[in-house]
């Protein structure tokens, strides 16, 4: 489903490439952890997936289509097939939980009726139905991230990309979020998670791709974190 073919990425004004010679293939329905030291290039890899950045050389294929060749005007339609989750949640603090999740649908002209059907279902899945009308800023960190997950999955994405989704959370909430991501994966979505959560990676025994200094250093089925954290 996802293929990186000889991908290198050098940011403008940077003297060395952040990613170099990346060849990586991820199948439909896989769950993959991306690990590695700080500054290794994990976030950069993720940004290539949701086309926040373009590769300097090489191709990033999604279902066989080179997304780096996408016209700017087609990028929104790519992103509608994806769910993205970040360390800092990226919610609108003064809006309600419902509004935050509905936002992802409103942006794309989904009908009101469809929104009223899908948002509660999505909130149910992350266990926040009872917080539907609370303001996002009134929620705990763990709850906020669950709202972000609900928003990411409300459109039934084929691919969920999470960049350190548990970076700001305590172990208990981290586990809850990772559990949600595996649930989503079981429902059919391909999930790619960049993380520093050593214990979780070691316990979950999923595929682990380690990035070091912009290169794939290790790629193991049922792998482990492999670094001291």
């Amino acid at each position: 489903m996802i293929q990186f073919v000889n991908v290198a990425k050098t940011y403008p004004n940077a003297h060395s490439p952040s990613l170099n010679g990346i060849n990586l293939s991820i199948g439909r329905g896989e769950f993959v952890f991306v690990v590695g030291p700080s500054g290794a290039g994990k976030s950069t890899l993720m940004k290539l997936l949701y086309r926040e950045e373009l590769p300097s050389t090489g191709k990033v294929l999604l279902d066989g289509k080179d997304i780096s060749r996408l016209r700017d005007s087609d990028v929104p339609y790519l992103r509608r097939q994806l769910g993205v989750i970040f360390q800092d949640f990226k919610l609108l603090p003064e809006r309600t939980v419902f509004e935050n999740v509905a936002f992802a649908l409103e942006c794309t002209d989904v009908s009101r009726r469809e929104i009223l059907r899908r948002v509660p279902a999505s909130l149910e899945l992350v266990g926040l139905r009872h917080k539907t009308h609370s303001r996002a800023s009134e929620l705990s960190g763990g709850e906020q991230q669950r709202v972000a997950v609900a928003r990411a999955i409300v459109r039934n994405p084929v691919l969920v990309v999470a960049d350190e989704p548990t970076g700001n959370l305590d172990p208990e909430n981290s586990w809850a979020i990772m559990k949600l991501l595996t649930d989503i994966n079981k429902m059919g979505a391909t999930v790619v998670v960049a993380t520093h959560a050593k214990n979780i990676v070691n316990d979950m025994k999923k595929r682990v791709v380690a990035i070091e200094r912009g290169r794939v250093a290790r790629d193991e089925e049922r792998g482990t974190y492999g670094y001291e954290s």
Binding site: S73, P76, L78, K90, T108, D109, R151
Partner: protein, 308 residues
């Protein structure tokens, strides 16, 4: 920019929210729009009135010739009262000019009572004259057609005993020149103000984009199209323009009605364009113009500051 009704409502709601959040900037924009459009409206009204005056003068194919009197300093007069015979001769000479249809002698007494009538209830203005009559004997000369008026006036001017000659075209020419000056000066001024307006609106929208950059970032991540993201900002610009236009027309309408009332009171036969004849159309035109200026202003800003 496909728009279902709900998207309109959302865009307008977001725009109003954003305007109240940066209320000072919004007020400044609305004021700038209002000032620009008020100047535009004033120029338009002035031009309309000058046209109107020109038209009412032009409709008269009459030449007015004033005869010499004792106190007339015109060099062609020898500062003597004309005798009845002399007046008769002048009338005959005028009648011999080709193109003259008829001549009517208007004595100064007749002219005064005519003036009395025209002033109507304001004839107290004339009471300051203390029974003196400052007017001259004059001839009302009708031409066969408008084309000949200038020629006739020229010929009448040469007749001995005739002091000054006026005819409609004189006023019309002066008015035309004046109108032209007002138009060009006005257009220049208005263009400058329009540029200022667009810049102010564009600056307001820029701040608005900045205030909502987080939201914009999230919109992009969840797959909103450029137009979806621009929509509320465009709406904000358009609303600023429309509000400005409404303020401008409110003030202009009020001001113009006052001026018209004042003028018609002071100078009863002054030809003015009635407010109700123009204000509706002008309001509509200016509101549309305000909306366009707002849209252009926000587009400029969005192109530069919202790389989506």
């Amino acid at each position: 920019m496909a728009m279902n009704p709900r998207a309109w409502v959302t865009a307008i709601r977001d725009a109003l929210r954003s305007m109240t959040r940066s209320s000072l900037m919004s007020l400044a924009s609305i004021a700038t729009v209002a000032v620009s459009l008020m100047v535009l409206a004033a120029v338009l009204l002035l031009a309309l009135n000058l046209d109107f005056m020109a038209a009412s003068v032009e409709s008269e194919v009459q030449v007015k010739a004033y005869l010499c009197a004792v106190d007339d300093t015109d060099p062609t007069c020898n500062q003597q009262e004309l005798t009845e015979d002399q007046k008769k001769i002048i009338v005959e000479e005028v009648l011999r000019i080709p193109g003259v249809k008829e001549v009517r002698f208007v004595s100064r007494d007749e002219a005064l009572s005519q003036l009395n009538e025209e002033f109507g209830e304001h004839k107290d203005i004339l009471e300051g004259l203390d029974g003196e009559n400052p007017l001259r004997d004059s001839l009302d000369i009708q031409a066969l057609d408008v084309q000949q008026v200038a020629g006739i006036a020229e010929a009448v001017r040469k007749i001995a005993g005739v002091s000054t000659v006026n005819y409609g075209q004189d006023y019309v020419n002066t008015l035309m020149a004046f109108t032209k000056a007002i138009r060009y000066g006005g257009i220049g001024l208005v263009l400058m103000l329009i540029v200022a307006t667009v810049l102010t609106i564009s600056n307001t929208i820029r701040l608005s984009v900045y205030a909502r950059r987080r939201e914009v970032g999230i919109m992009k991540l969840v797959g909103a199209t450029d137009w979806y993201i621009r929509r509320p900002f465009m709406m904000e610009g358009i609303l600023l323009g429309v509000f400005g236009a409404l303020v401008a027309m409110g003030l202009t309408g009020y001001g113009y009605s006052k001026v018209v009332v004042y003028l018609t009171q002071k100078i009863p036969f002054w030809p003015v364009v009635r407010p109700e004849q123009v204000l509706m159309n002008q309001t509509l035109g200016l509101v549309v113009l305000g909306a366009v200026l707002g849209a252009v202003g926000s587009l400029i800003s969005l192109r530069r500051f919202l790389k989506v």
